[in-house]
């Protein structure tokens, strides 16, 4: 019996980890090819120059829900209004804030209630009214504030914002994110280059913790100097520069982050917008948009750009990280419960045939398999049948593989003049990558498993407020 279990486990783990490594190698190949091509053909300064005065540049709406953000709302909205793009509007959705968020907005931007002909294209919690400025300031004229009753989720507030956008494309973001000044040009360009209809553009995001911000604009990008955000920064870099780039290369993008992503308004509305009940609302909306396009037989593309367009504050403490990861874990489980019919369906092309099975096998099941691995090693140790030499060799091989991935990420990032001006700051990434398998990874696995458990037991879960520590601002 012992031998049978042991043999089964040996081979299962061998093939599983072999599969992960192989998939990573394939992803590296795809992303490397894409990055190389982009490096040759893309000139960001030139793009900005020609789009700035062109009548062909499409308009973009920025939708940012706000709930109890009185401390930072004015600076954040000001920063959104100061973005560089010829035709954009900012839609702030006050999601029934209990503090002075709305009052501050009204006072600072000289807002008045307007009889906006609101059409509920996507169902939301009751809408109250729209505010627009009476000031002559051209910057303020770009602002619309939607006031609605609290829906308890970001999805519900975002949907209310989508209902009032007046442009063909919209960007969904968080009001406290810092958006790169030229981010809108960067997002719209791949869309204008494509021969196929682009329904969403995903741009890279990084951690705001540690950075220096001046008047709502990024002054200096620095790595987070505390462990949890540093780990998450590395995780984001790896995900955007390798994983998402590779999925975008095969047009099988799984997720466009809720923190910053550009969407085709028409398709998003027809797909039903964000699902207020979902814990992975961004992933869910992409699935529904793809479903809509495939069901109606229209070709589509979802693009990933490696440029950093947005910085968001990561969980500063373990408690906040736990909440975030449990929600993600639960969201992933919930996602597969809802969209399981898309799995292995040729109708959904690479998304249904490659991306979804990949996520199910190597992301959804990974925490469970890892846990069983830990338990099996413990059992071998207790029964005295563990070959220590082999175990250490395999461990160090996987550890080295993780380091190789980090080096690749650093190489890609440096190629795009990415995160850090001072190259020595990349050493923080190497530090994080060295510690990650011992500290961060087991914690993440644990939180994901707890998320799954909560979903299975049907335990009620609330979104909870994301505790922010704030960022450094330069004088």
């Amino acid at each position: 019996m012992h031998n049978a279990i042991s043999t089964f486990f040996d081979y299962f783990i061998l093939f599983y980890s072999g599969g992960i490594i192989l998939s990573y190698l394939i992803m590296i190949r795809f992303s490397f090819k894409r990055h190389k091509k982009r490096k040759i053909f893309h000139d960001p300064e030139y793009t900005i120059e020609i789009l700035r005065d062109s009548p062909y540049t499409p308009g973009i709406s920025i939708v940012a829900p706000a709930y109890n953000e009185e401390k930072t709302i004015i600076t954040n909205v000001q920063s959104l209004l100061n973005l560089d793009y010829p035709d954009f509007e900012v839609v702030i959705v006050n999601d029934g804030s209990k503090d002075k968020t709305l009052e501050l907005l009204i006072e600072h931007f000289d807002l008045v209630k307007v009889p906006y002909a609101y059409i509920e294209k996507i169902k939301t919690k009751p809408f109250r009214c729209v505010y627009a400025t009476k000031s002559d300031n051209p910057l303020f004229k770009k602002l619309k504030v939607v006031d609605k009753e609290n829906g308890g989720t970001k999805a519900d507030a975002s949907n209310a914002g989508i209902n009032v956008v007046s442009n063909k494309y919209f960007i969904c973001t968080d009001v406290d994110c810092v958006i790169e000044k030229f981010a809108l040009y960067r997002c719209i360009w791949p869309l204008m280059q494509s021969q196929t209809r682009v329904i969403a553009v995903s741009a890279s995001m990084r951690m705001l913790n540690g950075c220096i911000v001046k008047e709502g604009q990024m002054e200096k990008v620095l790595p987070p100097h505390s462990l949890i955000p540093l780990f998450q920064d590395l995780e984001y870099a790896r995900s955007y520069l390798i994983g998402k780039s590779a999925f975008a290369a095969i047009n099988g993008m799984i997720n466009v982050s809720g923190g910053f992503g550009l969407f085709d308004t028409d398709v998003a509305i027809k797909a039903g917008g964000y699902d207020g009940d979902s814990f992975a609302e961004d992933m869910d909306m992409i699935a529904r948009m793809i479903r809509y396009m495939c069901d109606s037989g229209e070709p589509y593309r979802i693009v990933q750009i490696p440029d950093i367009c947005c910085w968001t504050e990561g969980p500063p403490t373990l408690k906040v990280l736990a909440r975030q990861r449990m929600r993600w874990g639960r969201g992933l489980f919930q996602f597969f419960t809802i969209h399981r019919d898309m799995l292995f369906k040729r109708r959904y092309h690479t998304y249904g045939m490659i991306s979804l099975p990949y996520v199910m096998i190597f992301e959804l099941s990974a925490p469970v398999i890892e846990l069983s691995g830990y338990l099996f090693i413990l059992y071998l140790m207790l029964s005295g049948s563990l070959n220590w030499e082999t175990m250490f060799l395999i461990f160090f091989t996987l550890f080295a593989f993780a380091q190789v991935l980090t080096m690749l990420v650093i190489n890609f990032d440096m190629k795009f003049k990415g995160s850090f001006e001072k190259k020595s700051n990349y050493l923080w990434f190497i530090l994080a990558s060295t510690l990650e398998p011992f500290i961060y990874h087991p914690i993440i696995v644990y939180f994901a498993l707890r998320g799954y458990l909560k979903h299975i037991t049907g335990k009620k879960m609330v979104w909870g407020a994301m505790t922010r520590k704030g960022v450094k601002t330069s004088q």
Partner: protein, 399 residues
């Protein structure tokens, strides 16, 4: 006793043998792991070294660039703004170029960003002396530099050269840029075509109409529009856009682009021909583009045709016709009746708002019809009237 010292290669050899014999009795997976581990360590070390070298080189380049900018930028600006015509030798003396200065790829490339920034800074200055600018680029040997870059084997360098020539406004022989008009690589081909289209003297647009199978992306539209604007600004010819609509019906996007350009460049002289095209057109998208164009150019003679088309038009076309009629604002009472009728028939909120906006802006008669409509409006439609009347809402942008 004789000592034998090992060479580096022998060390590597013994190291590999050591690993091989350590894991010889183990399963293949374990042996593969040991091999991978070694490769990974080597890769990591090489990457670290490479990144370090890259960082050092970049820092050195930045220092040099800064030094050159400090040394030459002001002097170059003075030359470019000087009212006196100077030849390349005089300019070389004025900006204190080294006596033995000659084209060197590394050194000359440092002038590229300086020239680009300077050109953007003084391009619209009334004292800008174009002749001096041309001679300045000659003094710096920029044409030779770009010619060399254009001949490079590296695709990126060729593309960058084409772009930089435009940025720095360097005079380059048309023949040099024309070399890649039919290049296999699409990006290079398009860059070259756009460059020739921008600066070409004879009829540089032929290439776009010849290539009927070429895809016209929005990117190309943006760039071509940019070229047209530049040429109009510098009194250079632009193509006959109506001919583009007529001669090449195969390339759908090119036709649409031509109609849009007529609208954007406000080329009213093309309206009669566009109207004829509209009468003959059976292509819905093409017709919509023409209707929009005629409306924005306020071509009054198009009104009877638009009213005639309305009766059998599809829903999408009706909205565009209504908007075009609203834009033309001829004062024709028939148009007002038509706008009112369309408002009553449509169910789309966006179309309703657009129609009301047009009525509201359609002079006294239009406003009277608007008020009448408001009195008769259903309770659910009142919000559209309030929306249009509110001065703080831009109802033209309602979707």
């Amino acid at each position: 006793m004789e000592y034998y010292s090992l060479t580096a290669l022998e060390y590597i050899k013994y190291y590999i043998m050591g690993i091989y014999y350590t894991w010889i009795d183990y399963p293949p997976v374990v042996r593969m792991c040991s091999l991978f581990l070694n490769i990974a360590v080597i890769y990591i070390l090489i990457s670290l070294l490479k990144n370090y070298i890259r960082a050092v080189k970049e820092a050195r380049h930045n220092r040099k660039q800064k030094h050159y900018t400090e040394l030459y930028e002001d002097k170059m600006e003075k030359v470019a703004l000087s009212p006196n015509k100077m030849d390349p030798n005089e300019i070389a003396q004025a900006i204190e170029l080294p006596v033995n200065y000659k084209m060197n790829v590394k050194k000359t490339s440092l002038f590229v960003p300086i020239l680009r920034d300077l050109y953007h800074k003084i391009e619209d200055d009334e004292n800008f002396n174009r002749s001096n600018w041309r001679n300045l680029t000659i003094a710096l040997r920029m044409p030779t530099y770009f010619e060399k870059q254009m001949q490079s084997r590296v695709l990126k360098k060729r593309l960058a050269a084409l772009k930089n020539i435009t940025d720095d406004n360097t005079d380059l022989k048309e023949a040099v840029a024309s070399r890649y008009l039919y290049a296999r690589d699409e990006k290079l081909r398009m860059s070259s075509r756009l460059h020739v289209a921008r600066y070409g003297t004879s009829y540089p647009f032929k290439i776009f109409t010849e290539d009927t199978k070429g895809y016209v992306s929005e990117e190309l539209m943006v760039k071509l529009h940019n070229v047209f604007v530049y040429r109009l600004k510098n009194n250079l010819s632009i193509p006959n856009l109506v001919r583009w609509c007529n001669l090449y019906p195969i390339n759908e996007k090119l036709r649409l682009f031509a109609v849009n350009e007529i609208r954007l460049l406000q080329s009213k002289k093309d309206c009669p021909e566009l109207l004829d095209l509209l009468k003959d057109s059976k292509d819905e998208i093409f017709s919509l583009a023409i209707i929009k164009c005629l409306g924005e150019l306020r071509y009054k003679k198009a009104e009877p045709e638009l009213l005639r088309r309305y009766n059998y038009a599809a829903a999408a076309e009706r909205g565009v016709i209504a908007e075009a009629l609203g834009n033309i604002k001829s004062g024709n009472p028939e148009v007002i009746d038509f706008l009112v009728k369309d408002f009553k028939e449509t169910t789309r909120a966006a179309t309703k708002v657009r129609l009301l906006r047009n009525l509201y802006d359609y002079g006294a008669a239009g406003k009277a019809a608007y008020e009448l409509l408001k009195k008769e409006a259903k309770e659910d439609d009142i919000r559209f009237f309030d929306h249009v009347e509110c001065e703080y809402i831009d109802s033209r942008k309602y979707a």
